[in-house]
Symmetry: C2
Subunit: 373 residues, 2 copies
Amino acid sequence: MDLNFTLEARCPETEARLGRFRTTHNEVETPQFMPVGTVGSVKSLDPRDLTDLGATVILGNTYHLGIRPGVPTLEALGGMHTMAAWPRSILTDSGGFQILSLTNLRKITEEGVQFRNHIDGGLLDLTPELSLRIQAAIGSDIAMVLDHLAPSNSPRAVVEEAMGRTTRWALRSLAARTRPDQALFAIVQGGVDLELRQRHVEELCAHPFDGFAVGGLAVGESIPQMYETLAFTAPKLPVDKPRYLMGVGTPQDLVEGVARGIDLFDCVMPTRNARKGGLFVDGGRRKINLNNARFKDDRGPLDPTCTCYTCRTFSAGYLRHLLVAKELLVYRLLSIHNLHIYLELMRNLRAALREGRFAAFRREWWAGVPAKG
Amino acid sequence: MDLNFTLEARCPETEARLGRFRTTHNEVETPQFMPVGTVGSVKSLDPRDLTDLGATVILGNTYHLGIRPGVPTLEALGGMHTMAAWPRSILTDSGGFQILSLTNLRKITEEGVQFRNHIDGGLLDLTPELSLRIQAAIGSDIAMVLDHLAPSNSPRAVVEEAMGRTTRWALRSLAARTRPDQALFAIVQGGVDLELRQRHVEELCAHPFDGFAVGGLAVGESIPQMYETLAFTAPKLPVDKPRYLMGVGTPQDLVEGVARGIDLFDCVMPTRNARKGGLFVDGGRRKINLNNARFKDDRGPLDPTCTCYTCRTFSAGYLRHLLVAKELLVYRLLSIHNLHIYLELMRNLRAALREGRFAAFRREWWAGVPAKG
């Protein structure tokens, strides 16, 4: 499905761009951050929390949902929008990343990936076609092709082979599409080898995908390597399609990703950190550890500059007490805070682009980031 | 502090009564159920959830809050109303019950109770005066006296000794009061020995307590024994003061407690059961186990007769999926459901009393309870 991606502004000094696209569920403004709803809920948050936060797309994990509850139950329950009572858009990954990170991988063949799942050890063959079938049952607005991600320190021949397979799997995915209401994004691989990235962009962009992701980053390479690869790759993608940087990242990565031409991001970082007491503050420029004893008697908000429900309602001292006592409520309250920081940063980036002051915003934002010690 | 408890209706066929009282925070209609906010939050729920549910009083645990975060932090953070952003009433227990159930109890003397706490094993002497000091730091609207609860199978002499001590500690508590905005309730002990109950009621009711609790029930005796003791004891308490049945119970216990003249109840049952998938349905008449595979593909609500947020929004199949996957969101959604069942039952009991049809409501309610089998 064509998302009718339209560009509304471009920064003259960087590759940053302001745009919007439409799914059958809603209109999505870009650049945008997508909270991760791994197994069918953004951990601890209900759909009202997410709409209050201004989230417009959430992510579902094909690997997790395909194993549990599985396709028959997904279909019986009407797909993820109905299940999770989520009225806005959903993007699903293809399952490839979780297979590498979570499972006992058996083998990768031209046909697909064979692995034992992390729930009950069951053997599964995931093919590009099955991945799309699960994504169809989830009913996501945007599906991703199954890709073959080579570890970032792999020899060139291995990266090249994975790249070629990713292209062939992407073309099989195009052919296997069943839902006219579902967009399909391809994934550019090639590691940190710019020549391979160039070649893969050319291979994939010759085909009618509805958007393109930059894959294989934030998997072990250095931050300068990631930024360099991104700066090289993103601007070569079609200007009239959304560009998605998968699994990234810190607030700094969002600002720099946007500057390099990225429109969509997802990451578990804000929610996963929140559950451990790692809170982004000051517009995402700094991080604090709420477990620290200095917050014990702190009657002020955990971030005086923040306007989220948590900061408007509760003291840092109370939140720290709940965290230390492992009280269930705290995971939701801290997740609300961190997601607010991320989504507010994206709103600020979009406003800066709209008003032609992105480069200035970026400079001023970085000026408030403390030097690493 | 006098709560200005006023009776508005009495059932001519039972001891049930409709009333209301006022704290400095709000007006509380009785009979009323109080959700338990053990360590400073009703597990998984925020204050909006609780006001949406119609809760008007929540309970705080003096034992838990006194150990962590402790009096200095409670005072620094402004007490539990400010910490938890809870604008309505709070009742605190005295800590006596948790000392028996959770700690390594060292000794009980006339002075107080010595024990090692369950968090870091620290040694603490809890006296009636210290319990009130912690309750003053929490800032509850209603405080309870420290009592000595003898196990329900104790010899008569042991129950008698505990009773005498409870009276003496209650009088020390009266003398140790510091907050003019805090009511103080005494606790009637005496096990299932009706003569001892009679005697303890007479001892305590001679003193200016603001309300009276029936303690020492639901601690091992049979349900008929509990109901008999309650039927004997509750009507002997002053008619113009609230009567509180501590730590009870099932929806059946609420209906029967009200019929025997009880005004206030608290219990962890709705929230603790919810977190394990034990859901009360059909107005509290039945309980289901959401872990059961029969809910796997169930697209309907978990309770078709329920109007709570969870039942209006999500399918039983989705909730079961979240429960099986141990997703954090589910604990809040199921707690909302069970507390709605409890608080709605209390609303229905009050409406029946107001409209002079309590006895009929009780009969009809029980007619829908399935026979045990």
